[in-house]
């Protein structure tokens, strides 16, 4: 039995189970949600959250934490709704510069041995400031093509579900199956041994940050595709949501233990928890607390599982 279910599978089981339970409760409370449109409405806003969660997960793979995720996604949303729409070439250049900045951040954190929390917190003010400079008042317009993608209605399965599955599969292969992913997780798990094996840690970190930036950029662009316009404060919540999503999905803050599929499920669970509470008609005064309670229950299950896992190892 122990051989059949690896600990990684069990790790994935809890988030998958909590998502299923929440989904069943939502369907029970609101049968209307059990339809093509219903599922799309429930999940389309979790697509950018899932992408931001993957970005955060990449940073967490190398034992860092990105506190600028929310402001960065907001900044990207502003760029997407202005430059990318009006002057695509300039827009792409800005996005490329943003990726380069992230890579440089990774190098800086590694070379100067700085705590990532401090660097990214500092950067969050830079991104926030740039976003307000680009869009002093909310506005802009989503590029036609991304709007078309986000509101597309593929046959049988809603766009939101297809997108979530694609994100999960792509990032799973990138991080769990590719040699690049192995090095990444190695940096988080035991940087010294990876270095001794002849890999450049600095390059791995820079690549991780750059890749995280790419996912965050996709998050910003897809968000604008959904909202049709941007706002300098549009995604501030994504910082905490992305961290919570990773943890909910079975990731750890340290040690390179992450799960891309889990992270996507975590992001979906977080979105669904909000809908669940709103369908329950819990008074707004209690909603924040109830949302926290759901998180605590799921994380409590995780802790319990970790303890079982440890006991098993000891046995």
């Amino acid at each position: 039995m122990r051989k059949i279910l690896s600990s990684d599978t069990i790790r994935l089981l809890i988030p998958a189970l909590s998502l299923t339970i929440l989904l069943i409760s939502v369907f029970y409370l609101q049968p209307r949600a059990m339809s093509y449109t219903g599922l799309n409405l429930l999940f389309n806003l979790s697509v950018p959250i899932a992408l931001a969660t993957i970005a955060q997960m990449l940073i967490m793979t190398v034992n860092d934490l990105d506190l600028s995720m929310g402001t960065f996604v907001s900044f990207i949303a502003c760029v997407a709704a202005t430059f990318l729409q009006a002057t695509p070439v300039l827009g792409i250049l800005i996005l490329a510069a943003a990726v380069a900045t992230y890579a440089a951040m990774g190098v800086l954190i590694h070379v100067r041995n700085l705590p990532s929390i401090v660097v990214t917190l500092g950067m969050s003010f830079v991104w926030g400031g740039l976003a307000v400079l680009i869009l002093p008042a909310p506005g802009g317009q989503a590029p036609e093509w991304i709007r078309a993608v986000m509101i597309s209605k593929p046959p049988f399965v809603p766009m939101a579900i297809i997108a979530s599955i694609t994100i999960a599969v792509v990032s799973h292969f990138l991080i769990m199956r590719s040699s690049f992913g192995v090095i990444l997780r190695g940096v988080g798990g035991n940087a010294r041994s990876v270095e001794r094996a002849g890999w450049s840690i600095i390059r791995a970190r820079a690549a991780t940050y750059a890749l995280a930036a790419v996912f965050a950029i996709l998050a910003g662009i897809s968000l604008v595709g959904l909202t049709t316009a941007a706002d300098a404060n549009i995604a501030l919540r994504y910082t905490l949501l992305s961290i919570a999503g990773v943890i909910l999905g079975g990731g750890e803050f340290t040690g390179g233990r992450v799960s891309p599929i889990g992270a996507v499920i975590g992001a979906l669970t977080l979105t669904l928890a909000g809908s669940f509470l709103s369908f329950l008609r819990i008074s707004p005064d209690w909603q924040i607390g109830a949302q926290g309670a759901i998180l605590i229950v799921v994380l409590g299950l995780r802790l319990l599982l970790n303890r079982l896992e440890r006991r098993e190892k000891r046995a």
Binding site: R32, D231, N233, R237, G274, P284
Partner: protein
């Protein structure tokens, strides 16, 4: 007129007699309030007004339900999700106080496409399919300078306290204030700080900038920051300028105390939180089949030296001076817009 009344009466009778007939009637309609923030006195008063007025309307059978929802965090993305949930819950109309005028457009469009009436107020949305009950924030800013020009014709230096950076209400009021200064050039804005519409933030911000300022004769504000500004001037032992207040109870209380102690004179202006009830009635009117223009304007509530005592008496401790609207008020606002 009489004929129309008779027609209406017979229509109402027909509705009662034959409920199946598809006459304009909102008794079975459900309206939801999507609110993005409840963390200050203004929003609390707004929610209280909503519950009071819609509670009576539901009891009277005007609508079937009028449920208020507030997002746990003041974020556009969360409110967009909330609106999408309301679509699923099958509401006939959604009344919105939006976190962002643009970031909800996608969700609002989804609601419109689902045949839902969307009415936004205070924090309005720009999506063309929604109705907007807007406050003329520019005029609110300009009128402050106009008032000061009457009180102090010689003019002088002004300190501007702004709201939350990046929020359009802040830009609008500030633009109005600057337009006012352009109109009355004897005034000059010598300093500008962000008070975030909160007394403590405003107090800190004003205390920070005061030492660098020449003599200030007036403070133009956005509401929720006047009392904090007064405290800062007091602590710095600077002569008290004319601070325009924002209808908050603590501001009115301070003003009243000063008025009794030394005849302090100022004005106070803000929007009544009860505008939520106006939005409710407008939504009800639209559901009732009335033709309503997409853009409506709600007057702001200003308090003068003469009306201070009455307004203060009717304002709750920690609350905001308020007016609640009736169905007749909504009909009037709709008729005026035509």
């Amino acid at each position: 007129m009489k004929f129309r009344k008779m027609l209406l009466a017979s229509a109402a009778l027909a509705c009662v007699a034959m409920p199946i007939q598809a006459m304009a009637d909102t008794a079975a309609k459900k309206i939801a309030l999507s609110n993005n923030y409840a963390g200050n006195s203004w929003r609390q008063a707004m929610l209280t007004s909503w519950e009071k007025v819609t509670g009576e309307a539901v009891k009277a059978g005007v609508v079937a339900a009028a449920d208020p929802f507030t997002t746990a965090e003041n974020q556009a993305t969360e409110q967009a999700a909330q609106i999408q949930n309301m679509i699923l819950q099958g509401y006939d109309a959604i009344v919105i106080n939006a976190a962002s005028p643009t970031a909800l457009n996608g969700a609002v469009k989804e609601a419109c496409d689902a045949g839902i009436t969307v009415v936004s107020f205070d924090g309005i949305v720009t999506e063309p399919c929604a109705w907007r009950i807007a406050v003329d924030f520019k005029e609110m800013g300009r009128s402050q300078v106009e008032y000061l020009s009457k009180k102090i014709p010689a003019g002088g230096n002004l300190l501007e306290i702004r709201g939350l950076a990046g929020v359009f209400v802040d830009d609008e009021i500030s633009a109005g204030i600057h337009a006012g200064v352009a109109q009355f050039p004897q005034f000059k804005i010598v300093g500008s700080v962000h008070g975030d519409w909160a007394q403590d933030v405003a107090q800190k911000a004003v205390a920070g900038i005061l030492p660098s300022l020449p003599e200030v004769i007036g403070v133009v504000t956005q509401g929720g920051d006047g009392y904090g500004a007064a405290q800062a001037f007091d602590a710095a032992k600077r002569p008290m300028p004319t601070i325009v207040m924002g209808n908050r109870q603590d501001e009115l209380k301070w003003w009243k105390e000063q008025k009794e102690a030394n005849g302090y004179e100022t004005m106070s202006v803000s929007i009544a939180p009860g505008v939520s009830t106006l939005a409710f009635w407008v939504a009800q009117q639209i559901l009732d089949g009335k033709e309503v223009k997409k853009d409506l304007v709600v007057p702001f509530l200003s308090i003068s030296q003469d009306t201070l005592d009455a307004s203060f008496a009717s304002t709750q401790e920690g609350g905001v001076a308020n007016v609640e609207y009736s169905q007749a008020d909504a009909e009037k606002v709709i008729a005026e817009a035509k």
